[in-house]
């Protein structure tokens, strides 16, 4: 039996679990059983693919099942790239299942979640394994629909139906783009296997069209600006462990689709394709994090931050394309490694953060940060792991986020060697955008952690919050440990990624585990190196030293004094920093052009007792520029066409007749 059959059996088991979940969904023990099963299956598949990635990195195993299109069957293939993404999917799936074991008990309608959760996991696994366009699209749609069902799990809550509707429309649009892209790749001959597409040499025009369509198709699923609109609506609407899967894993499956087609199937890229992907990535990163900064709903903030991270990943992919087009394989390998490393990292910390948001949600029933605060005293463990997630996603050493972003910047620093002036100018500019987004991300997560966990409670619900259950904590601690491990042992991950870059670029980064003291040296010792372990040890030692000194030499007497309230006479929790006020300086700086933000102060006339008002007006520019005209046009057209539904029978006949005659006329007059 070939190796690819093992994850396929895993998929079959997941689908079986989904069907079983329909049958037993109403029982009390269903939650334990389903999440236990998905945890076990994901863990087994995870072990298998990790073994494959480490043990037989160059191995490719394929299998054809007698399903799907009759003349090609359903083809599945496991190579280094799909093994890596299977690892991401199943690690996220295992963590979400573990979390779900505890979190699932708070679910009001488990029958709406349990069947779709394993199906969603199965869909994501299948997309990564598919080796022909038909299976790929079918799995892709299956994944979309399963996640849509999960988004609609709480369909009675306000705005969730709208989120589901927009998600469905955008998912269909994305699949249409993918369908067209595969159609172009298959060419007139119509061979829908990936092997045939890989062998074909598409023309310049076809390659450009496929790139554009993939940016639309995979980009809309991943959340590239301006196709991101569904993401901050749909991801938070699902139950939190599903939000974690959608944000942390499903967006990565979209990245997989992009890499598979652009790097693997399309052949040699043109240099300008790098420019397109780079600039979209940079734009996405900055706009995503700016949206996140203005957000006060914790889960939506995390969803917007996903858009930022997707931007970082796509910028790195664009770099890899540019280097690959210019025959600079070592730099291309570096950029691709950075992108894949960030894929892995983001799946760790974004899942962790969504789990944390879910824990806060179960403990307090609130997602609005303006009603939280002071949770660090009531949920110390959750706030600790949430802090780890925040530090990781803010790209601070010694955690993992720093390593991948650092690698991306190392790749950007290679740009002076590029021959085209367009790229020479573009890459540092995008580098600037990425640096800006990294800084803004740090500010954003200071806000997310500070407003949620620090300060004093802003509502009664928070006062009575309790720490969450063991399973949820175990899942979060496991992910936090992975964040730290990937941060202090990055060489391990980089070497693990080498078969992927070898197969896609034909080159790899230097072997990192051979470096002394677990340093990583992306290009050469003389240019740059980083040692996460050293930084970690330094931080640990200096922090313990400082703590020791303070505890040893400072006074032990505890003094409580009145907090200084900036001269405000009545110190209520409402006088604290809020999410909006924290973000105000940044909104002032960037909001005017990015969101057409306006502030208006209405002062009452002298002598009046009315309070002064500060009105803030923020526009979603992307929605208003791209989507409102479309929705408006569709609404107008449907209104105009509506009366066609109420014609007489004879008129319908006449319409059909006239249409037929018109077609015949066209045929007759066609030169």
């Amino acid at each position: 039996m070939s190796v690819v059959a093992l994850p396929l059996w895993g998929v079959a088991a997941l689908l079986g679990t989904a069907i079983a979940a329909v049958a037993i969904g109403r029982r009390g023990s269903a939650t334990q059983l389903v999440y236990g099963a998905t945890l076990a299956i994901s863990a087994v598949v995870l072990v298998i693919v990790t073994g494959e990635l480490v043990g037989d990195p160059a191995g490719v195993s394929a299998v054809t099942l007698p399903l799907g299109l009759p003349w090609i069957g359903a083809q599945f293939r496991l190579d280094a790239l799909s093994a890596f993404f299977l690892l991401v999917v199943n690690l996220g799936g295992a963590a979400a299942s573990l979390y779900g074991l505890g979190y699932g008990h708070h679910e009001p309608a488990p029958g709406r979640v349990l069947p779709f959760f394993p199906a969603f996991l199965a869909g994501m696994n299948l997309v990564v394994l598919a080796n022909d366009a038909f299976s790929f699209l079918l799995s892709w749609e299956f994944m979309s629909l399963a996640s849509w069902a999960l988004v609609m799990a709480h369909h009675r809550e306000q705005d969730n139906t709208r989120a589901g509707y927009i998600y469905l429309v955008m998912a269909s649009f994305g699949t249409l783009a993918l369908l067209l892209a595969f159609g172009l790749l298959a060419g007139l001959g119509g061979t829908y296997t990936f092997d045939a597409m890989r062998a074909a040499e598409p023309s310049q025009f076809v390659a450009a069209a496929v790139l554009g369509l993939m940016l639309l198709g995979a980009g809309s699923k991943a959340g590239l600006v301006p196709l991101h609109v569904w993401l901050p609506l749909a991801h938070p609407a699902a139950p939190s462990h599903v939000s974690a899967l959608m944000s942390g894993v499903m967006t990565k499956v979209a990245v997989y689709g992009f890499i598979r087609v652009i790097f693997d199937l399309l052949g040699e890229p043109a240099w300008w394709s790098g420019v397109v992907v780079l600039s979209l990535g940079g734009l996405t990163a900055v706009l995503g994090i700016l949206y996140a900064l203005l957000e006060k709903d914790l889960k939506r903030l995390l969803a917007y931050s996903t858009i930022e991270n997707i931007g970082v990943i796509f910028a790195s992919l664009g770099l890899a394309l540019a280097f690959k087009a210019n025959a600079m394989p070592s730099a291309a390998a570096l950029a691709l490694t950075a992108a894949l490393f960030h894929v892995l990292n983001h799946s760790f910390f974004k899942s962790l953060l969504f789990f944390g948001a879910g824990a806060v949600l179960t403990a307090t029933g609130e997602r609005d940060m303006e009603k939280l605060g002071g949770l660090i005293h009531r949920m110390p463990l959750t706030s600790f792991v949430f802090l780890v997630g925040c530090v990781s996603i803010s790209a601070l050493p010694p955690f993992n986020g720093f390593v991948s972003e650092w690698l991306a910047f190392q790749a950007i620093l290679q740009s002076p060697d590029l021959p085209q002036w367009g790229l020479k100018v573009m890459v540092p500019a995008v580098g600037g955008l990425l640096a800006l987004s990294a800084a803004l991300a740090a500010a954003c997560f200071v806000k997310a952690f500070g407003i949620t966990f620090l300060g004093r409670p802003r509502s009664a619900a928070v006062e009575h919050a309790h720490e969450v259950d063991r399973y949820s904590l175990a899942a979060m601690f496991a992910l936090a440990a992975l964040c730290l491990l990937a941060g202090i042992l990055p060489g391990l991950v980089i070497d693990g990624l080498s078969p992927v870059t070898l197969s896609l670029i034909g080159n790899r980064m230097p072997v990192q585990l051979a470096q002394p003291w677990l340093s990583i040296v992306p290009i050469g010792e003389s240019r740059s190196s980083y040692n996460g372990l050293l930084v970690f040890v330094f931080i640990a030692i200096s922090a313990s030293l400082a703590a020791f000194v303070i505890h040893r030499f400072a006074s032990h007497a505890l003094r409580r004094g009145p907090a200084w309230g900036c001269g405000f006479p009545d110190i209520t929790p409402a006088a604290q920093y809020t999410a909006v006020s924290f973000a105000q300086p940044i909104r002032r700086v960037f909001g005017t052009f990015a969101f057409r933000a306006r502030e208006r102060v209405e002062m009452p006339p002298p002598g009046a007792t009315a309070p002064a008002r500060l009105d803030v007006e923020v526009h979603d520019v992307v929605w208003e520029t791209f989507y409102q005209p479309i929705t408006g046009a569709i609404g107008f057209a449907t209104e105009k066409l509506n009366h066609l539904q109420f014609l007489t029978i004879r008129r319908y006949l006449t319409l059909v007749f006239l249409f037929l005659v018109t077609l015949l006329l066209v045929l007759a007059l066609w030169p």
Binding site: L653, F657, V661
Partner: protein, 220 residues
Amino acid sequence: MNGLTFDIAHLLAGGLVLVSFMMLYQDRLFALINVFALHAIVLALSVAWQAYIQDAHHLYVTAAIALIFKALVIPVGLHRIIHRLGIHRDIETAVGIGPTMLAGIGLVTLSMVLMLRVTPEADPLAREDLAFALSIILLGLLVMVTRRNAVSQVVGFMSLENGLVLAATGAKGMPLVVEISVAFSILIAFIVIGVFLFRIRERFDSVDVGALDDYRGERR
């Protein structure tokens, strides 16, 4: 192909088009049905001639089906329906005769131009046959569109189907099974439509499809 057989086939198919034209200006139902019966007889002759020149014996069966069902059973059935509905005195003029005839001429021209253009390599007999068949189909549709009475719409539909049979028999090697299934589907359609006619009649006291529209509360 010898000239005479071709000419006779041409004559019969052209006769079919001519009878279709006759259908366009009948404003009484009985007359319309009689013309339809004539249409079916010409069709049967044409199919039988095709059977003879192609030496395809199964086409005689088709011709017999056309003769028995379309020239006898269905017209008789329609006559009885009209008697029972009591609408044999109705006169209907949805669209004037002049414009309808002009439209019919236009349609025949269109189908000639089109068919002769797209089938330059085909057998000349089949080519003519296809062109005539398309004209008959379009004229049948025209009958359906210009009539307001449900019975005459049924007749238009049946004459349209005659065009299909003509096209099918003109092409060599069409299996009998196809023709029989087409014939039976038409028969079933006739039965279903007949049932519906009585249903409509029961409910609205009329088989003018305008009554349906009135029922739906819409403008005509």
